[in-house]
């Protein structure tokens, strides 16, 4: 189907010029959703009526000669950890199963201002805590490339929706790899911007100092387009950077000749699947042929990234999730005996096992007598990890690494072994701790026909370079739209 070979950039132009209507595109997407959802579970909530109404109004605005915006008429999927006014927002949790917020996340306001059409809210691990989408209170999303495999997570629903053409572009959120790892597993592009590049206002918090919203799309150019819409200052988020947003598309095709790329040795050690390693090295060769120069580097504190992350992220999460107490909104247990009982029952019944595990871990780490040994020490290690990057970026412009040690693994194979599951984020977590941007872009497929992405990491606010690098690779490998075996 020709429509689905077009990404957001192409369709936006076609809609703007009247070659195709937003209604037609939206209808096609909704039809795909109807066909595929029974075995993909990309969405927790779909909003077909709202979407069609909105698409029609965008078409009318176009006919009236109004500017319909950079994403005018483009059907988009929004991760369900992002607040949408009037549309149920669950964060994949029972405790928010019926929560309909009265306000929009900043990024939603931005998307709507740019003319986007929201078609639904995508599946996620509960409160984004997971690497497979399996901790979702709802049915886990399945990988469109092989429905027996996980999508990755936590933004697995958005990745799956893209791979199955159940949307044209999507938003995800990334705390330790939650955009990049599912992007790799599902063969799409996803970028975690610099911490503070995109406002977190309206992103349901997991770990405030690590969370960042980012685009997930079918092509690199689409990610650049979406990021240029959602990035920028927002006075409702004190951690948001007040820096101008470049037009990421203007320089995307300017080549990568002379760019110095580091290969950190710690990312190519034991535990890396050989096929993933081969695909990554093939990407290195492609980049070389495009003119990039490779330098071996070291990020010596990499081995501490996972423990550091699981102390800091869970500590913040333990506080961030205290508001779900059954008092003002969300799930409340029936017939509690007293206030204390209401708290205990509402939270015990409302949260799933992974969320409870992380709340316990974080609470422990902040407790009197343990704070110095865990939280404070982890903050120190976080600084060391950041310094590793600062040092590396004195000699290189970007860093290339695998996204995840393996391709998408079978559903159910790691969910009962949290430590194994936590390792799936080993190559993505450091970047969140350092607050730096990283992009995951398709690099090839395994012998089992499973997509594998590679990751480019960059300096603070150097998303522009990441797009150039990812685009150079994409030109050689092809996008999720065109490469062989793409799911249409």
């Amino acid at each position: 189907m020709e429509l689905f070979e077009s990404g957001a950039c192409d369709l936006a132009i076609k809609i703007k010029t009247g070659t195709i209507s937003s209604e037609e595109v939206t209808k096609a997407v909704l039809q795909k959703i109807e066909q595929r959802e029974y075995d993909i579970n990309a969405y927790i909530t779909t909003t077909p009526e709202l979407a069609l109404k909105r698409a029609k109004s965008i078409d009318i605005q176009r006919i009236q000669g109004k500017d319909i915006g950079l994403l005018g008429g483009i059907p988009m999927a929004i991760k369900d950890s992002i607040i949408t006014a009037g549309i149920r927002t669950t964060a994949g949790s029972h405790i928010l199963e019926n929560f309909i917020p009265p306000y929009n996340a900043h990024v939603i306001d931005k998307l709507l201002d740019a003319g986007a059409v929201i078609v639904g809210k995508t599946n996620t691990d509960e409160f984004t805590m997971g690497s497979t989408c399996e901790t979702s209170y709802f049915k886990p999303a399945r990988n469109p490339h092989n429905t027996g495999r996980v999508t990755g997570g936590s933004s697995g629903g958005s990745a799956a929706a893209l791979a199955a053409h159940e949307c044209i572009a999507a938003l995800g959120s990334d705390t330790g790899g939650s955009i990049r790892q599912p992007a790799s597993f599902c063969g799409i592009t996803g970028i975690k911007p610099t911490y503070g590049r995109v406002s977190r206002y309206g992103l349901i918090a997991y770990a405030s100092s690590l969370d960042q919203i980012g685009p997930m799309t079918k092509s690199v150019k689409d990610s650049a387009l979406v990021l240029s819409v959602i990035a920028g200052y927002d006075n409702r988020d004190s951690t948001c950077l007040n820096e101008p947003v470049p037009d990421y598309l203007t320089e995307i095709d300017s080549g990568i000749s002379g760019i110095k790329i580091g290969l950190p040795k710690e990312y190519f050690e034991e535990g890396l699947d050989s096929e993933v390693c081969d695909i990554t090295m093939k990407a290195v060769e492609i980049m070389k042929s495009e003119g990039a120069e490779f330098i071996d580097i070291s990020l010596p504190h990499t081995e501490y990234a996972i423990p550091t992350y699981y102390l800091l992220a869970t500590a913040e999460a333990s506080a961030n999730l205290e508001r779900y107490d059954g008092v003002r909104y969300g799930y409340r247990a029936e017939n509690p005996e007293n206030l204390y009982d209401m708290y205990c029952k509402s939270r015990s019944e409302g949260f799933g096992i992974e969320v409870k595990r992380r709340i316990m871990l974080g609470t422990y780490c902040l407790s009197a007598g343990y704070y110095d040994a865990y939280y404070r020490k982890a903050q120190k290690v976080r600084r060391l990890i950041k310094e590793d990057f600062d040092k590396a970026f004195k000699t290189v412009d970007a860093i290339l690494t695998p996204v995840s040690p393996t391709p998408a693994f079978p559903l159910g194979s790691k969910i009962n072994d949290p430590l194994q599951m936590y390792l799936a984020d080993i190559y993505t977590i450091s970047l969140n701790l350092a607050g730096l941007p990283g992009i995951s872009v398709p690099a090839g497929k395994t012998s089992d026909n499973l997509p594998v992405g590679v990751q480019f990491m960059g300096r603070v606010l150097d998303e522009n370079l990441l797009f150039r690098l990812a685009y150079a690779l994409e030109r050689n490998v092809g996008t999720s739209l065109t490469y062989e075996g793409a799911v249409v």
Binding site: A91, Y103, A207, S208, D237, T239, T363, L366, Y371
Partner: protein
């Protein structure tokens, strides 16, 4: 044996900002329940706090007035505990890195000067309110107070007497109010006091186990509670028992001190830096600006009133009990009223009505310019002093201008000599006996004639004029 008490205080004061500390909701007192709320102060998912700069500035004023050290960099922290009046499940407060360290207030006690040192002043948000209705098994939540900005002033355990506590609280309140940092309204919960108390035998240096009394909402209660607690601890020690460390509540109605339920007190607050906020950076330029903006404090104001307006010390003292009254007074004289007469009226009539009707000067219907107008009318003789009081009462009840009231009621004073002579002549003619007596030396009968004139003019005759003309015509 004689025991010496040692007391330290923690005072929560509401900062006088228009909006809350982390969102744009109003802080105004007395709104209908749950009308001052938004997703941020309700702790909805995904929302973020944004610091109100003005709150920081008001806290800085207190530091400058108490010689505290404003930190170049301070951090907010999350204080975690579950309670239904705390929407996020944590209170945003400050812990390891408060905004202000140190500082002190010097007291003039009966036994000489006494310095009370501060440990710190930090900023935090207030919690909401729970409403318990008698006989109802459910409780209700009101968000209006959630996120109202507070500063917590923590003193060292420097108090040895109740007199010191009392002087300190009043002095602190004066600083809060005159600096504009707080409205200092106790009834509206603007100032709340916690006290740490221990006693030790005379001669012993090290402090004994202390208890903490929480949440006292008036100075009278705080003093009574501290006195009670000192007595209670003395009793325990004299019985040979030991004071145990616990948190207590004072019940002012029954005058009892009782421990808080253990569940409410056994908290591990798990403080950690608030990741949703950036550090508060303060540079010298900012401090200098706040210093230059400091309002006139009470002492300066009192002295200025004596010197500039020629007021007696007593008047200056009363007119500066609150910055609002002082401001009102100065506006009245700014409109041309005589300073001393204005002072008499403000201290007398204005304060009387404010007390009687329990309103603030802002709500008072007689605006400064209107009072000035009235005083000028008395001065130029267009109404009498006694009439003015009637007019004033009416102004206070309906907010109308004195000239309009006087005109409508026909209260304008008769000062016209020709008109007055006509009336006086009539009075003299119809009271020949009294005229006789007056002329034979009973000069105090003048009051009788004045009274007759007033009766005939229904009080409108200018008494001074009447006096002069009567004496002329009777002699």
């Amino acid at each position: 044996m004689k025991y010496i008490p040692t007391v330290g205080l923690e005072i929560h004061s509401q900062l006088a900002t228009k909006t809350k500390i982390f969102c744009g909701c109003p802080t105004a007192f007395g709104g209908e329940s749950n009308t001052h709320g938004c997703p941020v102060c309700l702790g909805m998912p995904g929302v973020l706090p944004v610091l109100n700069k003005h709150a920081v500035e008001l806290a800085m004023r207190m530091a400058l007035l108490t010689n505290g050290e404003i930190q170049k960099r301070s951090y907010f922290a999350r204080k975690n505990y579950f309670y239904p009046d705390l929407p996020k499940g944590y209170q945003i407060s400050m812990f390891e890195f408060p905004l202000i360290k140190g500082g002190y207030i010097d007291l003039k006690t009966e036994n000489g000067p006494k310095r009370i040192r501060f440990n710190r002043i930090h900023m935090e948000e207030d919690a909401g309110k729970l409403i318990h209705v008698e006989g109802d098994i459910e409780s209700y939540f009101d968000v209006n107070r959630c996120g109202v900005p507070l500063i917590e002033t923590v003193t060292e355990p420097d108090f040895g007497t109740l007199e010191q506590v009392s002087l300190f609280l009043n002095q602190l309140k004066e600083l809060l109010i005159f600096s504009g940092a707080s409205l200092g309204n106790m009834e509206q919960g603007n100032i709340r006091v916690d006290a740490n108390i221990s006693i030790r035998p005379q001669g012993q240096k090290e402090l004994n186990t202390r208890t903490e009394i929480k949440n006292m909402n008036s100075f009278v209660n705080a003093l009574a509670a501290i006195e009670h607690e000192i007595a209670r601890q003395t009793d325990i020690v004299e019985q040979g028992k030991k004071v145990i460390q616990e948190t207590l509540l004072y019940d002012p109605v029954h005058g009892i001190i009782a421990p808080m339920r253990s569940k409410e007190e056994a908290h591990d607050y798990r403080y950690f830096p608030e990741p949703d906020l950036v550090p508060v950076f303060v540079d010298d330029e900012w401090i200098d600006r706040i210093r230059s903006e400091l309002p006139e404090m009470r002492n300066e104001k009192r002295n200025r009133f004596i010197q500039e307006h020629g007021l007696p010390e007593y008047d200056a003292e009363i007119l500066t009990t609150s910055p609002d009254i002082a401001k009102y007074y100065e506006l009245v004289i700014g409109e041309g009223a005589d300073p001393k007469k204005a002072s008499n009226w403000v201290m007398g009539e204005v304060l009387r009505i404010l007390n009687e009707t329990r309103i603030t000067i802002d709500e008072f219907k007689v605006k400064p310019s209107m009072l000035a107008e009235l005083l000028i009318m008395i001065d130029n003789g267009s109404i009498s002093g006694s009439m003015a009081k009637t007019v004033f009462d009416e102004m206070a009840s309906n907010g109308r201008h004195p000239k309009i009231i006087v005109a409508e009621k026909g209260l304008t004073q008769i000062s016209d000599k020709g008109e007055l002579k006509k009336v006086i002549r009539e009075v003299i003619e119809s009271n020949p006996n009294e005229v006789e007596k007056y002329k034979s030396g009973k000069t105090n009968l003048i009051a009788f004639f004045v009274g007759q004139v007033m009766k005939m003019t229904r009080g409108k005759a200018n008494p001074q004029e009447v006096n002069v003309i009567l004496r002329e015509m009777l002699s």
